[in-house]
Amino acid sequence: MTDQHRLAAEALTLAYGERAVIEGLDLAVPPGRITAIVGANASGKSTLLRSMSRLLPPRSGQVVLDGRSVHRLPAKELARTLGLLPQSPLAPEGITVADLVGRGRHPHQGLFTRWSRDDDAAVAAALEATSTTPLADRPVDELSGGQRQRVWIAMALAQQTDLLLLDEPTTFLDVSHQIEVLDLLTDLNRSRGTTIVMVLHDLNLAARYADHLVALAGGTVHAAGDPADVLTEQCVRTVFGLDSRVVVDPTCGKPLMLPIGRHHMAPVAALHGDRGTARS
């Protein structure tokens, strides 16, 4: 589990029809760390993630896993190394949790290989890691949004990949479930060394949970690195077109972005009164 896989995008250009979404993007995913990708709507975050997991062939450039282009790797071989949880996966009507998690074993099974003890062990471990063991026999349709998301993560875990890509794993979840999911992913990274790449909407959660923050703008990487260096007022202005203040989050010491709108703002003097805590 600890041999580290290297995933990188090289001069990657991605397009839907004529419209290029990503142009000439270079990105190296630090192995064994958590990378979060942020950016405005339609900045190509999900497109980039889909291409990194072979779902979208590049117009030019390539995505390289351990020196080989992912679009040339055999599908199942890739699926044993790199897993992806898409934004809205579909659960067949009435499927039970254990059954759905078991589907994550597909890349480990051949046409004629029977279900093995390894498969059972992987499913049990995935259920345990996501605290979904008590739900194993329940139909997925009956679960709450937070439970369902944990089940999908369990399916991705059962795939036992060293790299896990997640497209907005916290959408549609309330704040406590968002934290629960991100804590779980952090546990996974810390204990197994799984490399995690996720697209996140919430800039502050991204800055808190990521070791490596990537901000996309204009179809390419605007800034990448330690969240403390990436998440600045200047960066928020370029990436989101938004004025903001960035302060130190008193709970974790990471940068915290406070948006500045046109209403409900304190007088200007007070706003700039304590510059000392800001990182700009």
Binding site: R50, I95, D99, G102, S131, A156
Partner: protein
């Protein structure tokens, strides 16, 4: 939540997972075995029952090649091909239907609803009545038409990807066109007898013979395994294209192989016995109801399809006084389910 995910799962937990899986698998095996047994019983009933009822011993002797006065002709020449074609067509319709329903993720998207069966039927009727063709040529035309209709439905429904509802509505339109073509062709054939006409309109096993049954059987022997080999990939596709791809399924290739195999099965079966109404539409959902959502639905749906055809044919022949073609009976069964499905989708807030 434990922070140590490196720990191997407790043996008890692994055992629980294995137990649950075995329980689901054994339920599935039981259901499949029961369905197979029912198909066998219905098949034997097709051979035994009729205007004259022959004892099982006579039937067995005829099937094994012996000579029994009377039974040799009735059972050997009439009922045996009829029963075999019933099983083969039912299996083919069931397999083809559930494949479409799985790929398009919509129970309404079965080949008989979206015009593929009707297209094959119209082409077969045209080839026989107008061109005076027979045998293999008819099958070939039916297959070409089925593929053509599938491509047409797909092309007309394509706009930034294929949306299920649009594809189904376009398919229903094409099905109506194909059916009126069939009616027109049949009205042109003066000497055409009514029973034969009904075969191309609703599907019928009347007049089934080996010439018709053998090509459909060969198609099933060749294409059935091709489709079954896609079983686990089709199950992965139920989770969405992206998830399936992330699980190592080549989505496009799987889709093409599965659709071509399904269309081939449907077309050969239709060329042999006409578009038996609603069998491919009903088989998948009934199978899903009986086995539950565990594993691939291909085999259960195929068996349900065969059972539907055989039982409906027995009902049509024996229970109603007049000898109705099998498609009339399955049509009566299928229509209420179609209404139910549309009402339910509507209540659930779907767009169709």
């Amino acid at each position: 939540m434990t922070a140590d995910l490196l720990a191997a799962p407790a043996p008890a937990a692994v055992a629980a997972v294995a137990r649950g899986r075995r329980r689901r698998a054994s339920r599935r095996r039981t259901v499949v075995a029961v369905l197979a047994a029912l198909v066998a019983v219905a098949f034997v009933a097709t051979l035994v029952l009729g205007r004259t009822v022959y004892p099982l011993g006579d039937v067995l002797r005829v099937v094994l090649g012996g000579d029994v006065p009377g039974a040799t002709f009735t059972v050997g020449r009439l009922r045996l091909p009829r029963g075999v074609l019933g099983v083969v067509a039912g299996l083919s319709f069931g397999l083809g239907g559930v494949t479409f329903q799985t790929l398009l993720r919509n129970p309404l998207a079965s080949p008989d609803v979206i015009g593929i069966t009707s297209g094959a039927s119209a082409a077969a009727a045209f080839a026989i009545v107008v061109l005076g063709w027979g045998g293999t040529a008819v099958s070939a035309v039916a297959i070409a038409a089925a593929l053509g209709v599938s491509l047409l439905v797909y092309a007309l429904a394509f706009k930034d990807g294929v949306a299920g509802t649009r594809l189904i509505l376009i398919g229903i339109g094409l099905a109506a066109m194909a059916k009126s073509t069939t009616s027109y062709v049949l009205s042109k054939a003066g000497a055409w007898d009514f029973a034969e006409a009904l075969r191309w309109l609703t599907g019928s096993l009347n007049g089934a013979d080996w010439d018709g049954a053998v090509p459909a059987l060969l198609a099933l022997v060749v294409l059935g395994p091709v489709l079954l080999a896609q079983g686990s990939r089709l199950s992965a596709l139920q989770l969405g294209d992206d998830t399936a791809s992330a699980l190592g399924v080549r989505v496009e290739r799987t889709r093409v192989v599965a659709i071509v195999a399904a269309v081939g099965l449907i077309a050969f079966a239709t060329a042999a016995c006409g578009p038996i109404a609603f069998v491919s539409f009903l088989a998948g959902p009934i199978a899903a109801r009986v086995v539950g959502p565990h594993g691939s639905l291909l085999v259960p749906a195929a068996l349900v399809g065969a059972l539907l055809v055989l039982v409906a044919d027995l009902v049509g022949q024996l229970a109603l006084g007049t000898r109705f073609p099998v498609g009339v009976v399955t049509g009566v069964l299928g229509a209420p389910y179609l209404v139910h499905l549309i009402v339910r989708t509507h209540r659930a807030g779907g767009s169709l």
